[in-house]
């Protein structure tokens, strides 16, 4: 399990960057394994599973990339709805461009860092904002998976 200071640092980042209050994560336990952080519903029953040979616990929530800690797409898809800043709603054309590897120029006063990308209100995952340019951090396979969706309806 994660010690209190590490947990505080992770939740502090989500609060500071996205405005997701730490209370949102009150009902979860956190675990760290090598360069990944995992979260699981806080239940007293989790102790009963401790005698088992466990291969994975809950949802992978953060990964360490270089010196940075990055929230995972799946974690952001679940909790991104609580974010009140660093959000960017993209239309189909912009989404197609992002998935194609292009950058989006936006006018923003936000500091460099991750932004939550959404389409039609649905949280897609993260983009990376650097000097008013946004680059996709969505999983690469989304380009192929979303190809039919991004085609115009005849």
């Amino acid at each position: 399990m994660l010690d209190e200071s590490e947990e505080k640092a992770l939740l502090g980042y989500l609060d500071e960057r996205f405005g997701i209050p730490p209370e949102v994560f009150e009902d979860y336990f956190w675990f760290k394994r090598e360069k990944t952080w995992w979260m699981v519903s806080a239940s007293r029953l989790i102790e009963k599973a401790s005698g088992l040979k466990i291969s994975l616990v809950g949802l992978r929530a953060f990964t360490k990339i270089g010196g940075f800690i990055k929230p995972t797409t799946r974690m952001i898809q679940v909790f991104g709805k609580h974010a009140i800043k660093s959000r960017l709603e993209v239309g189909k054309d912009d989404l197609r461009r992002l998935l194609g590897g292009e950058t989006l120029a936006i006018e923003s006063r936000q500091e460099n860092g991750y932004v939550i990308l959404s389409h039609g209100g649905d949280i897609l995952g993260l983009g990376l904002l650097l000097n008013n340019l946004v680059r996709s951090q969505l999983p690469r396979q989304y380009k192929k998976l979303l190809e039919p969706f991004l085609k115009p309806i005849p």
Binding site: Y28, M39, V40, S41, S43, L45, I46, K48, A49, G51, L52, K53, I54, S55, L56, V57, G58, L59, R60, R74, Q77, V78, H119, G120, G121, D122, I123, L124, Y142, L145, L146, E147, P148, F149, I153
Partner: protein, 302 residues
Amino acid sequence: MLSPFDSYREIIPDYETFVEALQYPLPAHLRINLLKTEIAPVVRKMNARGVTLIPLSEKDPSLFLAPDPGLRGNFLDHVLGNIHFQALTSCLASLVLSPQPESLVLDLCASPGGKSSHMAQLMNNTGVIVANEPDLRRQVPLSHNLSRLGVLNTVMTRYQAQEFTLRQNFDYVLADVPCSGEGRFRFPGKTMWYGEPKRAEKLLELQKRIISRAFDLLRTGGVMVYSTCTYNPLENEGIVDALLKERRDAELLPIECGFPYAPGVLSWNKKVYERELQKAARFYPHQLDSVGFFVAKIARRE
């Protein structure tokens, strides 16, 4: 034309209609994932894409028939985990078990994760589900689906189901066992690929060992479901019958799922099964247009 299931003529009600139903492709069913979204916006978005969704169950309003699924897995809602395509009868295993929130659940043969994630939804992501899958290759889709669907109350293990450690007892156990898969078969005469599995005897032995271990893993007063997607009584009633004869604290419970089914058979190939087995449920494609399925709900008596 002969159907590969002619040997079941005596036990499948209205057999000719059953054979007729096999001429049609499996319909697409999906579950709106209430762990990530709500029903109304998904229905609205799917309608806008030209897909009609027809609700199927009052007991579980997240289950829908998608008569013309078109793009299937390539829907944005699928990619984001707002929906999950899953055979209706497969959903019924979780629905029949109906694990309560804050309970300890074991899914012994969990991949690809449709039933585990459905149970997580029924439990509102509370308690703990142990999603067990021994095959490393099958752990990949299991892990992928659980994370895509925003499941937060699972731990994954890799025990052989029949040898799952006895260190811990569970409130609920789901044993959706490997089977001959007859219930998935459609189009007799067009694709005559169907044949008895080569190692049928070994399969029966494995099923017996899994149900026995599943029952051992139940706490007193706990409930389990044994399910298959086959019509073969040897893999269904035969396996449950053996458990009932061996374990006097095992008791079959009635099944209330709100969908039509035929009761379990009481005899097959001159073998007579316990009368209790009529409480088991056989789902046939001419009665419920989905994968053929068998479900038995078993309690461990106090």
